[in-house]
Subunit: 352 residues, 2 copies
């Protein structure tokens, strides 16, 4: 074991602060990474504040962060995929059983024995996993990704969660040129959905409640922007979408969105409204529509997404902050006051 | 035009009674059918009683019935598919535009210019369409089906609605040998779903709230029967289904059913709960599940279903009644007191 500097929450109500954590020494199959940037995901805040206490109670100290890019500083003797000096990335998962049907199909995110990047039982240390708000991390090579060399690293970090969360459903449900695709909500997830759907060649319509997001939506790849509170604008789009990616976690009218789908269209939730929401059977039956959900993506698909980003020069729009501003960033996140993701420059941790 | 005997409702509160309606003379492309059996669908009751006044108000007199089998008595000069004496069938639709993308794909049920078999504007007469509670009907050959000669005609009638409504989603979502399929609810729709899923080779589990339906479920093709109110029995089935056909229109817990699906599984509604029901995003997201709906089926698929029934000797379990008992049958339908579909022997109309 070795000591690593990190930022952690000591309780549900403490601000995050500088601390030291123990990391395992790299095993034969491990990759040790010096973390350069770590994106801030809304999940980080939920976990740090124990807001998911009923399903995933927080163990303190909690070191969040699952949008990690960095430089490889050590590799185990059996590691073939990486060498010291490589730019590498780690997302929401750091281990899985590798033997279940989900793992065998490359869908590790659905493995019943998945290990998440933070606040999860750590098989190596017996403690919990610590995330990317840290100077380094040690991860089995199976869960380490390659980052295309042309990508800006601060903007690449959020690809590991916001990126794959939106890319995976667009990819899985076959979004291509000739398809009409809706993206609901222009935040951390939505802005990535827009970029991907546009790069995949679809005709992309952004749905937002905020008229002042129009210009940005067009800049990010929207062909049309619809103010979802305007029932006339909504009516004009009825029955015309092949696929809608819903990235809104606040309560909203799912039936109004379902009615935008054409026959056999699919609405996929990635925003996860906390409370159950009402669905009208008629919205589904009268055009054989589907409502579905999607969860991050598998490792192979995450690599495919990063390679797609390399080819299309796609990164997240980020506001880079030093780790010392993480608590302020959390407050702004609650108010959705960020365009569109915070990325922590982890060099700042040296002075923390 | 010619006169035909029929049974109709004169108002939302009148019992159905004998009447005479005007039918068009067969055009060049029409098939005139002497109706031998007509199934009773719950929709007949809803429409006769104007229970769908907000979406499809009833025009009186109303002649219900869209599960029609009979003998061809006349064909137009351009009719090639049928000849006098053939056994033919008519389901929920009698016309569509034939030119929209849905029609071109053989999915007439989603045509924006569809004509339903009863209580729909009739382009020929300027009045409304009259259904199968009648001695005869005249329908364009495109909407007339062939009935395999080995099928019992009383039991074949419900195939035209209950049959295709359950066959289509099982077929569309690829139910075959090796799949685990749930059927929710053992009524008119559910019992057909059981028969079809079994004949398609799936491992079929029937979910019911009624322990006394167990024996019948096994007889109809279930491999297992689960009492859906028993949380232990439900827990044992969690995450194991490829496909679930939900044929229950009463309020029930959709999330409990969604959680029975394996990764990428689909729950399809055909029962259409009247009120919106709560859906938890987590039920969908954590296994990339889908919730969908399905509506009867296209004409080509309806013929395919009838042919499948011919090969597998599948008909509906029916209680045959004379038309004089239709009002009593409606009362029993409200109480779900029928195993599993009423089929009216239309010869009885001669004495009405």
């Amino acid at each position: 074991m070795y000591n690593a500097k990190a930022f952690s929450a000591a309780s549900a109500t403490s601000p995050l602060a500088s601390t030291t954590i123990a990391r395992r020494d790299a095993t034969d199959t491990d990759v040790q990474i010096e973390i350069l940037f770590c994106g801030i995901c809304h999940s980080d805040l939920h976990q740090a504040r124990n807001e998911w206490s009923s399903v995933m109670p927080t163990v303190y100290p909690c070191v969040p962060g699952h949008e990690i890019v960095g430089r490889v500083t050590k590799v185990g003797s059996a590691v073939k995929k990486f060498k010291v000096g490589d730019i590498a990335a780690v997302g929401c998962m750091v281990d899985s059983d590798g033997t279940c049907p989900n793992c065998k199909e490359g869908l590790e995110q659905f493995c019943p024995n998945l290990t998440l990047t933070y606040n999860f039982p750590d098989k190596h240390t017996g403690a919990v996993t610590y995330g990317g708000y840290s100077e380094s991390i040690v991860v089995d090579q199976r869960f380490v990704l390659k980052v295309p060399s042309n990508l800006d690293l601060a903007g690449a970090a959020p690809l590991l969660c916001a990126g794959i969360t939106t890319f995976s459903p667009l990819h899985h449900w076959g979004v291509t040129k000739g398809k009409k695709v809706g993206i609901v909500g222009l935040g951390g997830l939505g802005h990535m959905g827009l970029k991907f759907a546009h790069a995949l060649g679809a005709h992309v319509v952004l749905f937002t409640t905020s008229p002042n997001k129009k210009d940005d939506a067009f800049r990010l790849g929207a062909d049309e922007v619809v103010i979802s509170r305007d029932s006339n604008e909504m009516a004009k789009q009825a029955g015309s979408f092949d696929f809608i990616l819903d990235a809104v976690s606040a309560d909203h009218d799912i039936n109004a969105l379902l009615n935008l789908l054409r026959r056999d269209g699919n609405l996929c939730l990635v925003g996860a409204p906390e409370k159950p929401f009402p669905v009208s059977s008629f919205s589904l039956i009268f055009a054989r529509r589907s409502l579905s959900g999607s969860l991050i993506g598998g490792i192979a698909e995450t690599q495919e997404m990063l390679d797609f980003c390399g080819k299309n020069n796609i990164t997240s729009d980020v506001e880079v902050i030093p780790i010392q501003k993480v608590n302020e960033a959390y407050e702004r996140l609650v108010k959705a006051d960020v365009k569109y993701r915070f990325s922590i420059d982890m060099a700042s941790l040296k002075n923390a």
